[in-house]
Homo-oligomer: 274 residues x 4
């Protein structure tokens, strides 16, 4: 039953995969910036965030309607109402979207409203969810678990690939270590390691990795310098009022600054940001 | 929306919870031994394991019908066929059973065949699964995630408790650290910490924590000395042929030795093993 | 230059080593309790601690004259004055002593005042110190570093053994992990692992491992149940006034309680505490 | 005894420190590249490495005469003979040098031959060594310990600063985590964190952090993009014959490639490499 050459591996496919979310190609020369609020809170909040994202160069929108929260008494997202807002705003501003899925039972519902499924760190080894997503063709943004090795991440991707869905984008978002000055420890060596072992694209989420907005810009630049195919950034027009993870969230003007400096780094490594 | 006194806490309920799996009480003076194969492979294998478990003093049977496997090309359990075997053998030998659930969609099915649901380390933060289990009354054995702090574990329990199911048993099974001589690092200080913070019972799984059968006996004794309400042990009549985790699995004769020495330690800490 | 059979290994010496500190044998059937204050503060404090240690069954005194402190502006020990107190009280109560050494230049000085050198976690890979200690015959209590694997610990011991000093006692005192509810994560599986790989004795320091006095008793019992050759306990007659690590320190009456219950566990694993 | 404002902090000195090794300034606009062999093996080897380092733009030479080795039976450096070679070649090629010190007793000796002392990860909390180095004025390159938080690293620096030596350069070189695909986990968020908390310069050692030469270039670029004041690179003319850490060592031609691409990234973040 064992495969000699896992589907994720360069042995199985030497050429790097290019994966399409809406009309945006991930894994090519362009470094893709995904931006938006951690959680969708209202139509006006999502619109303001999306307009800022679009204005400064993001190519894909993010926004959570289902939020996995350690504490059961905190805001867990707007659910389907949030999905509807996401779809409406995505159409309005003309950017494709990605949103998190927590439960295999929600696939059909979420499928109607988004261009890519996100599997979060806590569900990286929710194998029944991975397999169901493997039966679709819609791209899956698979985040590294907090205790997952690179090998574990690639094997999690294999659960999707082996069901027939080749459209997997990996995401480094930090691992759990003894250092608590940041929420997690962003491991950027994951990028060249994944590139060596796999043809799948890999992006980086510095917002969730560090949990600190002051580190987002420098870690975005570092990720791009290390070869990441994209970065995913939490932005909010009023971070101090955000219902979720405000501390790690950039204001539009800081996002603009990030984009300007990220573009220079992308150019320095022979890539570009639109 | 925040509770001042979480349901898991001693502030909310000072008296230690006693939780019943079948006719077996967990959290009282008796130290409960759960034993059985990692995975159910066949009726004859399950019967042989169950008879050995019963003979040497185990009070509850374990056996997996759905196995979460990092590698998608390895044995993933017999599914419903396995559940039927588990139920049949459980009735035959007269021991209640616990088995792992991976997917909220399987609750009704598994509910028919077992006396307690097990949520594995990889699903400790699969909050939709936890919430569904919280709507039942059947006990849930909740294993600590590999990157979960004690606080994370207690909050995961809160997801179940807050839905109305008070029957949660916690399980320490090791956390992921830089030490790879053992599969995970068993953290026995979790036991007194949980006892201080919570009224919920806590057991220990030395088999999965260490991944080495040679360490199972000493870690079982240590767990009991530290105050664990039970231990869960992988046993198999032919470990070398086990389809899953043979390296960490005890033969019946070694399980017998473990039980003899574990009884002495239980007595030394003013508890008992039947 | 590589040895096929490291001196620490069972391949090199199959029989377990018995190592003498003063007249106390470590590694035999007796489980040795080492107790005393974290830091020597005054003659009267050391005397009170030593009398309590002796009264309730400790066989060796501990007490630091040189304290490695992360923060350079905190109490760093009394130095030679502390050593003199240690020696005086050790003679008075009739218990041999162990004290920490930080610097190879202090070997001759400390040698006059103590029965064993302790090398702390932060110096486990201070190889020049290890080698100098290897040129003596006085026993060395070698603590596991916070980032050291079992293999690293054994190799650190080899630095001492290879210089001609066979008298090394290992000490598990926790490793650094993401869990910060305790200061470090005590890894009791280190005990059977070391016993399998090496003939050297191993003891456990639950006080420094957990940093919490409320966990000391249960972790001492667990260590003994797991096969430890001894435990090392911080005690103080006034923990709230201790100049160092008061939070992890037991009062004499709690130490007495610990000793009573530890004795029962020792008996349960066919060993004894005097 | 506690200082309200540690000497390392921005509260104590707001302006970033510029520290001179020989005639090279660290902490200014220039990103400094330090290069050389892990261990000095011979005069011809050191000369070849130094010439390559110089040719492609390194500004400081590295080379170890005293190597801390986990295994006591491996090559531990040439000692004083190595220092003499280092000094001779440093003068020949006209680059200042840095070399590791393991023992406070060697300060006077090493002081004659090098322009900066390096304190390795294993000695980051060898406080007696730090204090002795604090009594000199020669710069100290202080590497982060494998289990050290950022705060621990800054407090270790404080041990040097508080003795009167303001010339401390910090070095991120990876921390120990469960991920063993790389030797350690390089934590580049350490750079902006240190910059926020301290005026001290910080460089990065991607060679020792990752243990893999294939990752050195991408991690060097990432470090520079993240704001590092320099990078330290292992190079060797014959990595396969290196007596120490050959796997992580670049050939001269790969070092040249690294320098070309690192220069572009430095420019992109408004700095430069000479």
């Amino acid at each position: 039953m064992q495969r000699m050459k896992p589907l994720y591996s360069r042995d199985s496919q030497n050429q790097s995969s290019h994966i399409r979310i809406g009309d945006v190609l991930i894994g090519g020369e362009e470094v893709i910036v995904i931006a938006g609020p951690c959680a969708i809170e209202s139509e006006s909040q999502m619109r303001a965030c999306a307009q800022a994202a679009k204005q400064f160069g993001a190519r894909i929108l993010r926004g959570g309607a289902y939020k996995p929260r350690g504490n059961p008494y905190t805001f867990e997202g707007l659910g389907e109402e949030g999905l509807k807002i996401l779809k409406k705003i995505s159409d309005e501003v003309g950017l494709p979207s990605v949103t998190e899925i927590l439960d295999a039972r929600d696939i059909d519902l979420i499928d109607q409203y988004t261009d890519a499924f996100q599997v979060g760190a806590r569900n990286m080894q929710n194998f029944t969810l991975l397999k169901e997503l493997g039966k679709r063709k819609k791209p899956v943004l698979l985040k590294r678990g907090m205790a997952a090795t690179i090998h574990d991440l690639l094997l999690a991707a294999e659960h999707i690939l082996s069901q027939g869905n080749p459209n997997v984008i990996l995401c480094e978002r930090g691992i759990r270590t003894f250092e608590h000055e940041t929420r997690n420890t962003l491991s950027l060596s994951a990028i060249p390691l994944v590139k060596e072992l796999s043809h799948l694209p890999i992006i980086v989420d510095p917002s969730h990795a560090t949990g600190k907005h002051a580190l987002t810009e420098s870690m975005s630049k570092a990720a791009i310098a290390a070869g990441a195919d994209g970065v995913m950034i939490d932005i909010h027009t009023n971070p101090e009022d955000a219902l979720c993870d405000g501390e790690q969230t950039l204001r539009p003007e800081d996002f603009q600054t990030l984009m300007i400096s990220a573009r220079k780094v992308a150019t320095a490594v022979d890539r570009f940001i639109a």
